[in-house]
């Protein structure tokens, strides 16, 4: 079959399996940020907590899966086909309103933000959010899967 069709079906399967669509309601399938991730500055010297880094930080497969999840969860509809912006800000540039570490980006996706970013942590499992973070951090690097052209 054509590659694009295969990818569509594969990504559908991946997301269906992982989204928890048919897990029992009692299971905690949402993903709160794994550690306390401060957005503002921490008062006092040397008190910043150690935050978790992305377990998939350098994993090209995870970046590709993140790319598919970026469309699957409609991120591309607000943030642009390849993250260049639209209803939401660009994810390709160096301006990070709520911080640029992996944990910061995880928290923004999971908790949502005030101008309309949804709180995906109530719907998307932790492993998928880390994959999205891996894809977002890969933008404008040689590792970016399916770069815009």
């Amino acid at each position: 079959m054509r590659m694009s069709t295969f990818l569509l079906i594969a990504s559908a399967g991946l997301a269906m399996a992982a989204c928890g669509c048919y897990q029992s309601p009692a299971a905690a399938e949402g993903a709160q940020p794994p550690t306390f991730v401060p957005v503002g500055p921490v008062p006092g010297a040397g008190n910043a907590p150690v935050v978790q880094s992305n377990p998939y930080a350098t994993d090209p497969t995870a970046m590709e899966e993140g790319r598919k999840l970026f469309d699957w969860y409609n991120c591309s509809g607000c943030h642009g086909g390849h993250g260049g912006g639209g209803m939401g800000p660009s994810l390709r540039d160096q301006t990070w309103i709520y911080g640029s570490t992996d944990a910061d980006i995880f928290a923004s996706i999971s908790e949502g933000r005030g101008k309309g970013m949804p709180a995906w942590g109530l719907k998307v499992p932790e492993q998928q959010i880390w994959r999205l973070v891996a894809y977002i951090k890969s933008m404008r690097t040689p590792e970016e899967p399916d770069p815009p052209k």
């Binding site: 569509l8 591309s76 912006g85 639209g86 101008k115």
Partner: protein, 619 residues
């Protein structure tokens, strides 16, 4: 090696051709410039060719389009082709919000009313004291989360004034009536739900004692609807959806669509697969017009929910449809679906201009609709019959024309869009041969002045998930400038002969401003680079221009000041779907961003920064 040389030659050649086209197109249009004038009928002499059904009262501007009929023609003539070259800047204000300033101010009782982009403050400016403090500012404090649901910038297209009240919509689906004298809220009504992705960006229309409001959110699968509120209390009287059973759509025994394809029961359900009509789109975010003789409201609906057409088999009624409704009851008198089973996001919310004019020698009641899809529609507004549909932008290729017997487009199957297929070089793009920015008509020339675009696109249908409150698209779109060496043009369209007479071309950017026509035979419009221009209505000669601080996406209006002189006002603050690429949080290395518009606007940041100004010109 030859292909490399050929490529360099092609690039240099293109640059030369584009530069020449820019020179000719912008600077040198003159009365006798033969290449631009086609079908050269002599400009007709008086008497007026067009009878206006709701002429604008002299001196004020109390409705979004000035008048009910959406002509955007003012009887003011103190500014004319002889003296407009002396026009100067009288005053300028900042609104403080550097997002797209669409729409136009109102002027009544020596007060100018301005609605800002989100957070949708209402400013009252004292025209007797332009250099003094503002009269008051009303702050509605809309829900901040609405900002992330606005597909095409956090814009607002203006207010209506009646019965001492200024009525307008805030982005979070709140309609507010404010006392025009005191600035106090009179009432507030909630008409939609931001959590579904529903916002409101359009201007309300007030007719007699009723307020009419549309909605936005076609990119979220939101159901379009027209809501009617009581002007005194804000209580909802009725609403008419853009899909669903006839009872939802307010279709009853009086409904008489002209074409067979639009006749039948409950088409708002049966023209969809299963219950997909519940995510049916057809939002109503453009302009509303009204005919006092027949008491009918006219408007068009937007794209159907989900951009990928294969995900919604059927005609998808009543998306992309012009409706005529009884202004009191809301029941539809006729409907004409311009593009069944939309393939392209061709929202048809453009203005429907109502004029009485001779057509083929017979006096006729017309409705003029310069369509997003590139065709200039002339309808009989009593029946919905299409009298003419001619291309007003040459590159239009998705269809070759319209069959006037059936009302259907004659589509070019090469450019159909499908799941898993890339349709390349489709013209116009989803942003259209014309966006929502309104045209104007002159009774002296019989021309419609159309702010037009020459933008094309690649459009790939994809799988889509409906997650409420998030985009429901299923399309990957990249736009780019169309062929011919220009990206925009102001087209003077001879209505009766259905062809262009002259155009002013813009090499780089589409024309994204509204147009104003005046009895002084001066036509005003603006460019995305920020030029505000006065043009001879008969010949297209540029008589005057002024470089404002930011790109113009608003609509010029004119009024009589307290001193009896004529003034012209325009917003200057770039934004909107195509203009928002100038915002700092947009990256131009992703041509698919901003629903594909970034691909066509990659140079805009060098030509315009965001702005927030109101400019008033006079003598």
């Amino acid at each position: 090696m030859f292909s490399r040389i050929a490529k360099h030659v092609a690039v240099i050649g293109t640059v030369l051709i584009l530069s020449y086209a820019a020179y000719v197109g912008i600077v040198r249009v003159r009365a006798n410039s033969a290449p631009k004038a086609r079908g050269a009928a002599d400009p007709p002499a008086a008497p007026a060719l067009i009878k206006f059904i709701s002429p604008l009262p002299n001196g004020t501007w109390t409705l979004p389009a000035g008048d009910y009929a959406n002509t955007r023609y003012s009887p003011e003539d103190k500014i004319n082709t002889q003296n407009v070259k002396n026009l100067k800047l009288i005053a300028t204000f900042s609104t403080g919000i550097t997002h797209g300033h669409e729409g136009q101010p109102l002027v009544v009782n020596n007060t100018m009313y301005i609605v800002t982009p989100y957070p949708n403050d209402l400013l009252a400016i004292d025209l007797k004291n332009l250099t003094g403090p503002i009269k008051w500012k009303f702050e509605p404090h809309p829900d901040t989360r609405a900002q992330g649901r606005a597909c095409c910038d956090t814009v607002n297209r203006g207010a209506s004034f009646a019965d001492g009240k200024v009525v307008y919509n805030a982005l979070d689906d709140t309609t507010i009536a404010v006392d025009g004298t005191t600035g106090e809220q009179v009432w507030r009504a909630k008409t939609g739900d931001v959590s579904l992705g529903e916002t409101t960006t359009g201007a309300p229309l007030i007719v007699k004692k009723k307020v009419y409001i549309g909605n936005s959110g076609g990119e979220f699968g939101v159901r379009g609807k027209l809501v009617c509120l009581d002007l005194k209390t804000g209580k909802e009287l009725w609403r008419a959806y853009s899909q669903g059973p006839d009872s939802d759509v307010r279709i009853g025994a009086d409904f008489k669509p002209f074409y067979a394809k639009d006749q039948g029961k409950d088409l708002g359900v049966t023209s969809w697969e299963g219950d997909k009509w519940k995510r049916g789109g057809g939002t109503i975010w453009g302009w509303l017009s009204y005919d006092p003789q027949t008491n009918l409201i006219f408007y068009g609906t937007g794209n159907p929910g989900v951009w990928d057409p294969d995900l919604r088999p059927g005609d998808n009624k009543w998306s992309i449809t012009i409706f005529a409704r009884d202004a009191d009851t809301g029941y539809a008198r006729w409907a004409y679906q311009i593009e069944p089973h939309d393939n392209y996001d061709y929202d048809e919310i453009m203005e429907n201009i109502l004029v009485d004019m001779d057509w083929n020698g017979q006096p006729r009641k017309l409705l003029l609709h310069p369509a997003r899809n590139g065709f200039m529609f002339v309808l009989d507004r009593e029946t919905g019959e299409v009298l003419s549909a001619q291309k007003f932008v040459e590159s239009t290729n998705w269809a070759s024309g319209y069959d006037l017997k059936t009302g259907l487009p004659i589509k070019n199957p090469v450019f159909s869009t499908h799941l898993g297929k890339v349709a390349s070089g489709v013209c116009p793009s989803s942003t259209g041969a014309k966006e929502f920015v309104p045209s104007a008509v002159s009774p002296h020339t019989g021309y419609l002045y159309i702010p037009a675009h020459n933008t094309c696109m690649n459009y790939e249908g994809m799988q889509a998930n409906y997650i409420p409150g998030t985009p429901y698209l299923g399309a990957s779109v990249k736009m780019f400038q169309g062929p011919g060496g220009f990206h925009g043009e102001l087209v003077a369209w001879d209505i009766q002969n259905a062809k262009p007479v002259w155009t002013i071309k813009d090499a780089k950017f589409p024309v994204y401003s509204g147009v104003l026509a005046t009895a002084g035979d001066v036509v005003f419009y603006g460019t995305l680079e920020g030029w505000f221009r006065a043009v001879d209505a008969k010949t297209g000669e540029i008589l005057w221009q002024f470089k404002t601080a930011s790109g113009i996406v608003g609509d010029p209006m004119t009024y009589t000041g307290p001193d009896g002189k004529q003034y012209v006002a325009i917003y200057s603050g770039i934004g909107g779907w195509m203009g928002a690429i100038a915002q700092p949080d947009m990256s131009v290395d992703d041509p698919y961003a901003a629903l594909g518009a970034t691909g066509a606007m990659s140079e805009i940041k060098s030509y315009s920064s965001p702005g927030d100004n109101v400019y008033i010109f006079g003598f």
